[in-house]
């Protein structure tokens, strides 16, 4: 029981570290048991250090850095326990354009192993779509679906 948890933690840790490094183009991150003596009960802590910066309290990170770190954590879990399909609802809202690009690139890599349904209003994420659907409300209060051709998107 503790064996299985420990193995999973080691796996997630490894992937979290490398995915963080990829998304941040550097830096390092890790997961740490708050009480390493107590594998069965101890809570888990996230340590993250963006490139060029000194290690800091997670709370001091910026909104976008926090979001990108959370995204790295989610992808690490997906790597260890893959899902046939995955739904992301506006996970990229706090990211700047450069980070949206990195997120989209990682998304494309993972999409080779599973389906992703991504809700977003970011250009970079839309550009990664294999299929694009638009939800519209021509009649107020009622949703309709249109499939959008990628070259129809506004700049």
């Amino acid at each position: 029981m503790a064996r299985k948890f420990k193995d999973t933690l080691v796996e997630v840790k490894k992937h979290f570290s490398s995915i963080f490094h990829e998304l941040f183009n550097g830096g390092e991150a890790s997961l740490k048991l708050i009480n390493s003596e107590d594998i069965l009960e101890s809570g888990l802590e996230i340590i993250a250090r963006p490139p060029g910066k000194n290690p800091q309290n997670l709370a001091l990170l910026s909104g976008g850095e926090k979001a990108l770190t959370a995204i790295a954590f989610i992808f690490a879990l997906l790597k260890v326990k893959p899902s046939a399909f995955c739904i992301f609802d506006e996970v990229d809202t706090a990211l700047d354009e450069a980070n949206v690009e990195r997120f989209a690139r990682l998304l494309r890599k993972f999409a080779e192993q599973g389906q992703f349904i991504v809700i977003s209003h970011r250009q970079g994420t839309m550009a990664a779509a294999d299929i694009l659907y638009g939800v519209t409300m021509v009649d107020q209060g009622i949703s309709q679906l249109v499939s959008v051709r990628l070259d129809q998107l506004p700049a």
């Binding site: 506006e90 809700i119 409300m137 949703s143």
Partner: protein
Amino acid sequence: MHLKEIEIQGFKTFVDRVKLKIGPGITVIVGPNGSGKSNVADAILWVLGEQSAKALRGSRMDDVIFSGSEKRRPVGMAEVTLHLDNSDNTLPLDFQDIAITRRFFRTGEGEYFINKIPCRLKDIQELFLDTGSGRNGLAIISQGRIEQILSARPEERRTVIEEAA
């Protein structure tokens, strides 16, 4: 196992039936604020067996039934169907194609079907239990959850790893 199509009718703002074909790779859903994008995510959560009205942003279970607009009257039932390809036998059912249907009526009754055969909600929930794709899996990241992930308590974070173990 992969998704083939999602059919939604009477569910939240999708009063008229829509069909979303889902292919391999990445499907991106775009649209203005309040147009119904997150309602699609809610529909998927719901057909997989979500029982918490709060997880669907409501306060009661019938909040998922289209409650009318200025120009359209409310309806009495919400229905969502998920069509899946199970040729790799990921789901513990002896079918190549699987259709999961959930209905809910304003009277409070719910109906559940697997390939048109009536079943219990439990049967649908248990179908996905081991796949990671169930609503307990980390497969569905709702709007606003990203902010919560980093501010989660260390114990909650541990639970996430336990579920993946």
